[in-house]
Every structure is written in structure tokens, then in C-alpha cells.
Symmetry: C2
């Protein structure tokens, strides 16, 4: 199934409490090499046919307008995966 | 900041109600080319230094044991990003 993958992360200067909690837990388990953790979203858009350039443009627009909240999140990647 | 990216998705044969809701909304907005949407997690592990092969092995273990629930989720990707 052809897909477009949209990756959304909380903005770097915002707190990410769930990420902080995971980072703390990993450090308590001895993974001191991991300094921080941030948790975002990975959204798969499924297509019947291989996405065209136009589909990718549309997906970037959808990612910015609809799948992310620009106040608190950044779209870090929009890629086709066949 | 060097990172390891862990991507976790709901298993293919499980319902994903938030993904279904987004797919329905996109179709109502006229994006009929998008047949389905699934929403998973993108987790960034931050490292002070470039992750070694050993760090990547550890991260795969952490992803399977700790960052995902094997009953309902699959780890789809664990990759180094410098």
C-alpha cells in the first residue's frame, strides 16, 4: 500500500512532559547516554495508487493545516513510502 | 544534537479510532485519494555523542521493551539521525 508519512514533533522550545517522563525512567534504568526524549506523531496517509508530486504537495498542505498545530508543533518530514 | 528515531505504529489489524476520524474528515474535505489514515508515535532519543552500533542495539531493545506495547503496537523503524 503506497503511503505518505507525515512526522510531527512538539516545538523544541516547548516542554514535552511525556518525553521528560520517559527520559527520567530511562536514566533511572541506567541509560545515562540518553540525555533527553521527545515524543511526537507519525501519521500514515494511505493511497490507492502511488502518490504523485501533486499528492505530495497536497499532503504537505494537509500536514501544516490539519495534522499539526502550528502553535506548539513542527512538521519535520513529509515523505512518500511505496 | 545526534538522535535515534524510534517509530511505533498501531498493529495493522487493530482499529485506530483517531486515524479513522482523521481519514473521515479528510474525505469530507474532498481528499478522496486518501483511503485511510493511521496515527502512531515518533520518539526521539537524544544523545550527547554520535550513537555507536551498541547504542543503536540498545535503542532497539528499549523500543521493543519500553517505548512500545507489543500487544497493540509494532516498532516500524529505529534509525540514527545526526
Amino acid at each position: 500500500m503506497p503511503k505518505i508519512i507525515v512526522e510531527v514533533m512538539p516545538k523544541a522550545d516547548l516542554l514535552d512532559p511525556s518525553g521528560k517522563a520517559v527520559a527520567g525512567a530511562l536514566q533511572r534504568k541506567g541509560h545515562s547516554e540518553i540525555s533527553n526524549v521527545r515524543i511526537g506523531k507519525r501519521i500514515e496517509l494511505h493511497y490507492e495508487n502511488t502518490p504523485t508530486e501533486k499528492d505530495l504537495e497536497n499532503a504537505k498542505q494537509i500536514a501544516a493545516d490539519f495534522l499539526s498545530n502550528g502553535v506548539i508543533e513542527d512538521v519535520v518530514n513529509v515523505t512518500v513510502e511505496n
